[in-house]
Amino acid sequence: MSAPSYWREKKYRYRLIAKYCKKCDKKYYPPRLVCLSCGNNELEDVELPKKGTLITYTWVTQPPKEFADNAPYAIGLIKLDDGTIIFAQLTDVDYEELREGLRVEAVFRKMFEEDDKGLIYYGIKFRPAYFESNVV
């Protein structure tokens, strides 16, 4: 990934900032340019809630080369506490701990590195929510 293309999107990736259409009260993450419902192209930045519930998940054992050293890892379909649904990588969780309905929270983590000379790329992953009861 080139430095400029990494740098352009960092606020969306570092802080889980979505695009918001005031007219329709709809949030879009990944950020969109145009509202799906009304075509409004003046969408605002809004920070998404950092906690959510795991709808379902899978376990990736054949990662793309960027994540070769990180594998295996879980990918989750998460419903954030404001109803927004996103895909995200999960971390600090073993396969056995994964289950539907798990409470999860956003954490700032290293995604991957270019190589030992290049940039380090950061983003948001989700882990089982600390300090919230995850007992069904």
């Binding site: 606020k11 954490v107 700032f108 983590r109 290293k110 950061y122 600390y130 300090f131």
Partner: protein
Amino acid sequence: MKPQHEVSIIGYGGYVPIRRIKAKEIARIWGKSDKALPLEEKSVAAYDEDTATMSVEAAYNALKRANIPPNIIGAVYVGTESKIYTVKPTSTVVAEALGIIPNVLASDYEFACKAGTEAMQTCIGLVSSGMVKAALAIGADIARGRPGDELEYTAGAAAAAFILARSKEFQDIAILEGSFSYVTDTPDFWRREGQIYPMHYYRFTGEPAYFHHIKEAALNLMKELGLKPSDFKYAVFHQPNSKFPQEVATALGFKPEQYKPGLLVPVIGNSYAASSMLGFAAVLDIAKPGDRILLASFGSGAGSDAFSFIVEDGIESKRNLAPLIMDYIGKRKYVDYAVYAKHRNKYNK
């Protein structure tokens, strides 16, 4: 040293990675006896964690307690000896991730394990002078232990963050009474450019380094403020292993009930720049308004920063706005040496 305008801590927070490895497990790999190990277990940062990611979580907790919008923070300093890049400050990534940019001072500090408290001193000066409204000082490290070396038992990982501002402008958690910094050129522990692991001089790091500097800083602080050990409710020291902080505390005249609450090294290891600051945060988690707390860090190379804080009323309402240090410590997952080595990149790929 006293700042011209009074300064208080208005927010604090910490972070300890969830994975732990037992010292016994490390001893097992290297065929060493599991008796007389320097601690029980230490924290292990995951493959996707580094000084920036840990700092962000600790600082996020501090912000929650400070209860201020991020953009009034005018300075972010990360004290660490495991910078994410050798050139490009960790603090810029942290500031961006917290929404503090762009009207901010930012830099990384290095002074081994006292880099974080150095950052605190700078923040105290900046807010007291009125140059910035609030300042964030972070101590964070993923300590590197050379495989098979003594330091591998204790090289841990954690982060601690403090937000400082002029007293009485926001809700104060603890007010600074004064500080004393004592620094000399003492080569007890160092790392040359390009080297992965540091060098240390074994027993030389004790008396002439750790003990001498902490004692000087703490004794001079108490002399300046006209205080004696019994005036303090708690005393927190830098914790490279279980023995040293207990020895220096006793030598200075402190009792176990004063220094034990801040002693975290037996269960998380030496988190270097975060070490004493995290112990201080753990003490704030249980302290009451009016308690006086001594914080004395030690950084190899060498120096010590000693502070005296008095806890304010704000602690009661702010304490539970973020996870306590004991909450993080209580969340643990044990890994064996192989998984530890995988996460800490000790395999030559």
